[in-house]
């Protein structure tokens, strides 16, 4: 009998199988992930959470019989009151008791016939942002600043002991020992043994003298030629190589004026939240600047941007000015790719719209890669004329490719619009 402690064995035996299930149900999982986001709560969802997918995506069929007609008999236990000939009302909703089969799906609990998955944050976001990309990021990659990274660059004959390349060193040492004919320890021992043997058998013989001379020579060599010589030492060499990194900054501009209802602000926030998670995920090097504006604009931190309520009138150009100010101060065009996303309900004080459009056309658009404008439409307005801001921006967009504009009316629009804006294009547009 053996007792074996298997507990220290490698864990995660089923990780690969689990991965395969995910791939198998990829479409369903992706849909579920996006539904989860559409229903709000991106924040919590993105922390890694459970999603349910319809179990037929993973159904394993087999030939199974079901009771369809005729009669059958069932033996049961726990009779308390029945005697022969009693009639029992059929239980409602079923053709009778033990109709197994439902088995596995019942465990999921989340609705009928669904299969629950707990995804890690990474898995979730991977699925969620699959095939999305920041547009045009390649374009200015060359001009971005460089960070240095250590890379291996062959061997050196000097260096710090921690970088000693033992394999290489011993190879050189061996070559040298063979080249200089350093006797092996075994050879010396063998000689000694033979000498000892001869000393016992035939002391003073000729062979013995020869062997002694040989031994003396071997010992001398052994002492002269070291096992490892400083010339053998080899160290791993590192050089600093410049690593190009695409740096980008994303300006998020949001209108928080009085005309924006809570619901509209909520939509805008959803959009930015999505954007924020996306940027964090895809581009480690992206700075995000949050600017909110009513009559006046201010830069705020993420927390404030998403949570702090604010009201007032609307002057869009204030936000644009603020953005330009920050860009000039911190993000020179030569070193950064610049992206802007703006969300607004389209209301603006009449005198400000032409000013904003001019600012956009002359100052901002020439220096940015991409400018996305999301206009949030009030829910009541089914038929609705174009707003001043929309009209003004539209004219600009006709001449400038960088400006893209979309309308969002409801929560479920947000993700399609987002995908539309950031879908990975086959070829970079000119």
């Amino acid at each position: 009998m053996d007792i074996i402690d298997r507990r220290p064995n490698p864990h995660g035996k089923n990780l690969e199988n689990r991965q395969r299930v995910l791939n198998k149900a990829r479409d369903a999982v992706q849909r579920a992930a996006r539904d989860a986001v559409a229903s709000g709560k991106l924040r919590e969802v993105a922390q890694g959470s459970a999603i349910s997918i319809p179990s037929d995506a993973l159904h394993e069929p087999s030939f199974q019989r079901v009771f369809t007609g005729g009669s059958r008999d069932i033996v049961l236990s726990g009779n308390k009151v029945f005697s022969r000939g009693d009639r029992i009302q059929r239980p409602p909703g079923g053709k009778g008791g033990g109709g197994g089969g439902a088995g596995e799906a019942g465990e999921s609990g989340g609705g009928e016939d669904s299969f629950r998955f707990v995804l890690t944050r990474d898995e979730f976001l991977d699925l969620f942002f699959d095939d999305l990309e920041l547009p045009d990021l390649v374009k200015r990659e060359i001009t971005t600043t460089e960070t240095m990274a250590s890379t291996r660059a062959g061997l050196a004959s000097e260096g710090s002991p921690s970088q000693l390349d033992l394999g290489r060193t011993m190879r050189y040492s061996m070559a040298r020992r063979i080249g200089l004919r350093r006797p092996k320890t075994e050879t010396v021992r063998e000689l000694e043994a033979r000498i000892a043997l001869l000393e016992d058998e035939a002391p003073g013989g000729e062979e013995l003298t020869a062997l002694r001379a040989e031994l003396a020579l071997a010992l001398r060599r052994l002492n002269r030629i070291p096992w490892v010589d400083p010339v053998d030492l080899r160290y791993r060499r590192f050089t600093q190589t410049p690593k190009p990194s695409a740096r980008a900054v994303m300006f998020c501009l949001m209108d928080v004026s009085g005309s924006m209802t809570e619901r509209m602000k909520d939509l805008a926030k959803q959009f930015f939240l999505l954007l924020h998670v996306f940027l964090e995920r895809r581009h480690k090097q992206v700075d995000v600047v949050f600017i909110r504006h009513a009559e006046a604009a201010e830069e705020v931190d993420e927390e404030k941007f998403f949570t702090d309520p604010r009201t007032g009138g609307t002057i869009v150009s204030s936000a644009l000015h603020e953005m330009i100010k920050i860009q000039k101060a911190r993000y020179p065009v030569s070193g950064w790719n610049i992206y802007v996303a703006q969300a607004s309900d389209g209301d603006n004080s009449a005198s400000d719209t032409p000013k904003s459009c001019l600012l956009l056309q002359e100052t901002i658009l020439p220096i940015v890669q991409y400018y996305a404008y999301i206009e949030i439409v009030g829910s009541g307005a089914i038929i609705r004329g174009e707003t001043d801001l929309w009209r003004g921006y539209k004219r600009v967009a006709e001449s400038m490719d960088q400006l893209v504009m979309r309308q969002v009316a409801e929560k479920r629009d947000i993700f399609p619009v987002f995908r539309d804006l950031f879908a990975r294009r086959a070829e970079a547009s000119p």
Binding site: M1, D2, I3, N17, R20, S62, L76, G97
Partner: protein, 524 residues
Amino acid sequence: MNHIPGLPIAGGGRRSEAGGGLLYQGADWSFDTLRNSYDAIERIAAEELKLEIYPNRIEVITAEQMLDVYTSHGMPLIYKHWSFGKRFVGHENAYRRGLMGLAYEVVINSSPCISYLMEENSATMQALVIAHAAFGHNHFFRNNRIFREWTDPSGILDYLEFARSYIARCEERHGMRAVERILDAAHALQNQGVHRHSGAKLIDLKAEQQRDRERREHEERSFNDLWRTLPNGKTVAASDTQSERRRRLGLPEENLLYFLEKNAPKLAPWEREVIRIVRLIAQYFYPQPQAKMMNEGCATWVHSEIMSRLHEQGRIDDAAYLEVIHSTTNVITQPGFDQGGGGSFNPYALGYAMMSDIARVCTDPTDEDRRWFPDIAGNNDAVGTLKHAWSEYRDESFILQFLSPAVMRRFRMFRLLDDVSKPYLLVDDIHDEAGYREIRRALARSYDPSHFYADIEIVDLDLSGDRCLRLEHRTRAGHLLAEQDARASLRHLAELWGYEVKLIELDPQTDTVLATHTAAPLRV
């Protein structure tokens, strides 16, 4: 309190002298206590119960590893497939949310017989599950006729290793997609992938590997690119009478996977091998459900017998023995039909009740027992009688032979007649003098293996025509195939066969066609 003078009173330390003293105290176990418990249990099993077992191997595992074991049908290793991942996620969810407790142990019908023990078990539970699995189940595996006949416990671990590496190699050579296609299809048909009517041939790893190597070598040796360039000649239309064809192909054939492996025209050699792997593993698991009730009953009876002997010998203290009683009682609870659980019989409950009842009939029979079991009543050889039953019966025949009125009364069994044409269910027998035999017969019938799996056979195929494969399902009264599943499974079958397949559901008495399903492969 008395203790042997001269010995220090054990303060939590172990005090296991040969033949006496407590094996352990408290809930904590160590590998020493495991070994001591095993030795003490082995002595009782060998000397008093005279169990014959495969050599034991006991492995201690964690909860996560237990989930892994669940996933692979209780096998220590299995090839990779998404369905195992699905099962794992399902079990894991249920476990995490507290819907499901994990088993205390899992035991594998192999030689050496591997028992997995959970690390969370208390010392008493470890002793209990060693008695249960390493002796109870182990004895049953080794001695029961259907296990002896159908499985090869010494070869299974090697075979699984072979299967896993073979399938991994196929995935490397042909891509995961291609392998998955075959595995998906074969899994859908695995219940119809067993030989039911003859003993399985033993799995021989060496021969398997040899066969595989020869097949590949032959393929490589006989490779000639010229064959590819030959124009497709007209096949000679042979006159092919149905009876001759059926004889030549060995039809009707109930083992669908076997037939496909041997005859499907479009499969590559490695695809046949993959089908064979699924088929042989399905064959290995085939006996399990047929003797589940007996197997659990045997193991439960053995552990409760051994644990009470340990208590009598003073090797475990009262607290430990109460824990044993508590946990055994939990396991053998039989909820009534109206208490949830669907009213099916708990195999532990029924099994244990029947085993202890047989022991009672042997040693302390009533007049009724003498009438019902004249050959064993009062023979005073409970262990011998039980061991005979364990080795020669399966659930169906065991119930038919040994279910006594006493047990039927204890479970308060009754029989319901469910006739869809009537608006009510009829109680047509209860546990009384007139009903015992009927109830026993009906209960035994529900353990008939033909009850578990649909009886589907390949009956004909037209080799010179469109190669359509014809199957028949001989239905049980009132039972048809679940429509959607049948269609999906049939599509898998068509996928392997390569041509159209047609399944007809027949009433076995009148041969009237009740339903017809057809399916064609996706790529032709």
